[in-house]
Assembly symmetry: C2
Amino acid sequence: MGAVSTVGDRVERTPKQDRSRATRQRLLEAAVACLAEHGWAGSTVSVVAERAGVSRGAAQHHFPTREDLFTAAVEYVAEERSTALRALFPQGTTADRRTVVAALVDLYTGPLFRAALHLWVAASNEDQLRPNVTELEARVGRETHRIAVELLGADESMPGVRETVQGLLDMARGLGLANLLTDDAGRRERVVAQWAVLLDDALG
Amino acid sequence: MGAVSTVGDRVERTPKQDRSRATRQRLLEAAVACLAEHGWAGSTVSVVAERAGVSRGAAQHHFPTREDLFTAAVEYVAEERSTALRALFPQGTTADRRTVVAALVDLYTGPLFRAALHLWVAASNEDQLRPNVTELEARVGRETHRIAVELLGADESMPGVRETVQGLLDMARGLGLANLLTDDAGRRERVVAQWAVLLDDALG
């Protein structure tokens, strides 16, 4: 484990490791913000390093290539979001399905979705980026599906339930896309309210 | 009407006008293909002109700016698609809703959707492009909604029906996005089959 020693549940880190971890995190957050605001063409390691207040050399120490930085960034933020989503509905609490549907749809609006969208579109034209982004997207998609099934209390052993939940997440992705150029919040709220009712009927 | 004379329902054009029309159409089709394959950054008027076998000067005669060319291109193809969709289900014929849902979802896969997606994402970061693309998107969206309501035989005077149809089109858009990096046809077919059932129940 190198300089990391585990004492019970606690992981002790040296101040140097803490700084390195903090630097990495600042870079990841800056990368997502940059991608959401400027798109792939405007997002280079230099631009991100400057935004994060980190030297270009330090940035390249953490992420040797631009591809490494941006796929790691989108993955990091997606994981943060999954954790936050689970925390919203701790096990044992019950939430009505409309609230859960609204929280799931919220995952697809805002800077993370914008950043991920820029990454997908860039990957669709860039061979260097595509394999990593495709794999990342599959992983994030599976995790989101798992959380959705759990929070909705859906029984996937019933015929059609799996596809019902998948369609809901597809709808959420489409709503995110509809929000890209204009603020679509009002319409989205009405669509979510209606489909939460249909979904509630479908899931029984 | 200038050199165009209308004889009954027929519009007569000079050979020169026919050539100009054909050139314009070739440019629009080349622009969509180019956008779908290379994205916004790789799509210039020169690249499109070359692909269409048209001189750069002739291209600029039809479309003074890059923005003009690409918004016109996406609009042109969207209109062609709407026409083709209506032609699939001529008035008086009846199609079951699953077939209609599948045909609607098909609008969001393939080169037109890819081209439109590149245009949306570019517009989200480029002030010059945004107003035209936003307006185009609103127009295409309204037209698609109108066709969907008609083909599904949906009664929008009933509460919730409008939002049910909107959610379906949001799902279709999300399915298009899911198809960007990988061939998602198998999963999409199962989701469409299930959501067609939910929709059929909801629309009564």
